[in-house]
């Protein structure tokens, strides 16, 4: 991880003004700068084009293991807000912002709803939850009988699907999350609150400082 002139940085596609991004998120300017260093290393890992493609995203998540993964795909799709096929720096910061401890709970709930609504119908259907469970079991060393899977699904939907129509709508999801806050655990990364101290190996220059000199 080296330093490079901010002039060169501005030429990279995908870069966005850190002051603007800081104003739109819970991150400070120096935190956005630190995130940019992380972004640079991820976006350059396969193709050095300043953008994060799906392969680079998976590599970053799983380190040495590059693999197709239902969940990594879902997260990638949600980060890639405008469905361009890649994540630019603005996408990166704004999406990570949802995981910030200070981000509104509403945004976190929306994110998980979209995450689990695999086909984007506006409902989390039983079939989708079953699909995710089975994908998880295939990926890990766990085996469950069909019967056990159905028991788990029955219990989940008994709790969440209040109008018994076989799917969970947005308001049912809200209700469910309030009664089962553990489900939202994944939506908060506490170390995002203090990124510049958590990752002192990031070396950065503040663009604001350089403009002044």
């Amino acid at each position: 991880m080296g330093c490079f002139s901010s002039k060169a940085r501005r030429q990279f596609p995908g870069h966005e003004d850190p002051v603007l991004l800081a104003s739109q998120t819970a991150f400070s300017v120096s935190e956005v700068e630190a995130l940019y260093e992380l972004y640079r290393s991820i976006s350059g890992s396969v193709i050095d084009d300043g953008l994060i493609n799906k392969e680079e995203f998976q590599l970053a998540l799983f380190k040495n293991r590059k693999r197709e993964n239902l969940f990594a795909n879902r997260i990638f799709d949600l980060f890639d807000v405008k469905r361009k096929g890649f994540i630019d720096f603005g996408d990166f910061v704004r999406s990570l912002n949802v995981f910030h401890p200070n981000a509104p709970q509403e945004d976190k709930i929306s994110f998980t709803f979209k995450l689990y609504d695999l086909d984007g119908t506006g409902f989390i259907e039983r079939q989708e939850v079953k699909q995710m469970l089975i994908a998880l079991l295939c990926e890990s060393e766990m085996k469950l009988t069909d019967e056990s899977i159905e028991i788990i699904l029955d219990k989940t939907f008994l709790d969440a699907d209040i109008d018994r129509d076989g799917k969970i709508d947005k308001s049912e999801w809200h209700n469910y999350v309030e009664r089962n806050p553990s489900v939202m655990k994944i939506m908060t990364l506490s170390y995002l609150r203090d990124i510049t101290t958590t990752f002192p190996s990031f070396v950065f220059h503040s663009e604001v400082d350089e403009i002044a000199t």
């Binding site: 970053a60 469970l133 085996k143 056990s148």
Partner: protein
């Protein structure tokens, strides 16, 4: 045991490593390895076995409400939650440098306790 204390489908799904963004932030290769197992054994029996191996390896053992914490060259956190009437889910998170003691010493000893749906372990 109350039904509400069982894990629900979203609890299980959200434990999956694809949702764990911490991989994006780990540097120097020190990252958390997370694994899950299913068992038809009593949690107490699983914990006892883990404790036995940990003491053999000279690790520091701390009992927790739902699991156990081990400290050696690796830090290992084990948490056990109930999945169904018969099954529990064992979650193991570990981090460290050097020899992966969990993989080498603990896993072989625990393999008999892991649930294989082809041969159900009845209590």
């Amino acid at each position: 045991m109350q039904d509400s204390s069982f894990l629900n489908a979203f609890d299980i799904i959200s434990h999956f490593s694809g949702f764990d963004l911490s991989g994006l932030f780990s540097n120097n290769g020190i990252h958390i390895i997370s694994e899950m197992y299913i068992s038809a054994e009593y949690p107490r029996k699983i914990i006892e076995k883990i404790e036995e191996v940990a003491k053999e390896e000279g690790m520091k053992v701390t009992k927790k409400e739902k699991g156990i914490r081990l400290l050696g060259n690796f830090l290992v956190m084990v948490e056990i939650n109930r999945l169904t009437e018969e099954l529990v889910m064992v979650e193991v998170k570990r981090r460290g440098l050097g020899r992966d003691i969990w993989k080498e010493k603990f896993k072989p000893q625990l393999s008999a306790l892991i649930y294989q749906s082809e041969r159900q372990v009845r209590r």
